[in-house]
């Protein structure tokens, strides 16, 4: 699964730490999600979607092999 998290974060000029604080997770978690090393839960995905103001499926995409 791929994501646009880094792009959206840059667009809204939010650092990883700031995003982590707003989502009540660690910066390591945000970094792991951006790198595709960890898939967030539905709840966390919806929180991100609400924070960025875009639908979840514009934030996360399925890859060819998924």
């Amino acid at each position: 699964m791929k994501n646009n998290l880094k792009v959206e974060r840059a667009r809204q000029r939010i650092s990883q730490q700031e995003l982590a604080d707003r989502l009540h997770v660690s910066r390591q978690t945000v970094n792991a999600i951006e790198l595709g090393k960890f898939n967030p839960s539905t709840l966390l995905s919806l929180k991100m979607s609400r924070l960025f103001g875009i639908p979840v499926n514009e934030l996360f995409f399925l890859e060819e092999g998924d």
Binding site: V25, A32, K37
Partner: protein, 159 residues
């Protein structure tokens, strides 16, 4: 269901105690046993320790078990869903390793010729507690390594 864990600060004293166990106590026990097998009449254990060994041994086992439990049931600095995920993965991997070990042990036990059976039974009895303690130590090693791996990756990204 959210499990209530011990505060993060208990990890430091528990970790220090376990480190002392592995660096000092276990080698001391090991070398004492080696000395005893070479010359059963001599002892490298000081007289006071030797005479109070049952009490000391019990206290040591209790302290060791409590330290493992403290590390096992304490929070990390930040508890979020990724930490929960890493925790569950560490439990699964350590359980699989211990189960595999026990399965191989069963097969070896059955295949051994009868004249080796008594010796192997003795070794098996000595390692009776290996299942649970080994699984806990494996779990802690895997879990802490996973957290460190993600922390290092985050630091690399930042620099």
């Amino acid at each position: 269901m959210q499990m209530k864990l011990l505060p993060h600060k208990v990890q430091k004293p528990a970790g220090i105690f376990l480190l002392v166990c592995f660096v000092l106590v276990f080698p001391m026990i090991f070398f004492s046993l080696v000395a005893a097998t070479k010359d059963p009449s001599s002892t490298s254990i000081p007289a006071w320790i030797d005479s109070n060994t049952p009490v000391l041994a019990r206290l040591f086992v209790i302290a060791f078990t409590l330290s493992l439990a403290a590390l096992l049931f304490s929070e990390e600095k930040v508890e979020d869903e990724m930490i929960s995920h890493l925790r569950l993965r560490a439990v699964a991997v350590s359980a699989i390793i211990v189960i595999a070990f026990k399965l191989i042990e069963q097969i070896v036990w059955v295949l051994l010729p009868w004249d080796f059976t008594d010796s192997f039974r003795d070794i098996r009895n000595d390692f009776k507690g290996v299942g649970v303690n080994t699984m806990i130590i494996l779990y802690l090693l895997i879990f802490k390594r996973s957290i460190r791996k993600y922390s290092n990756r985050t630091d690399e990204e930042q620099s």
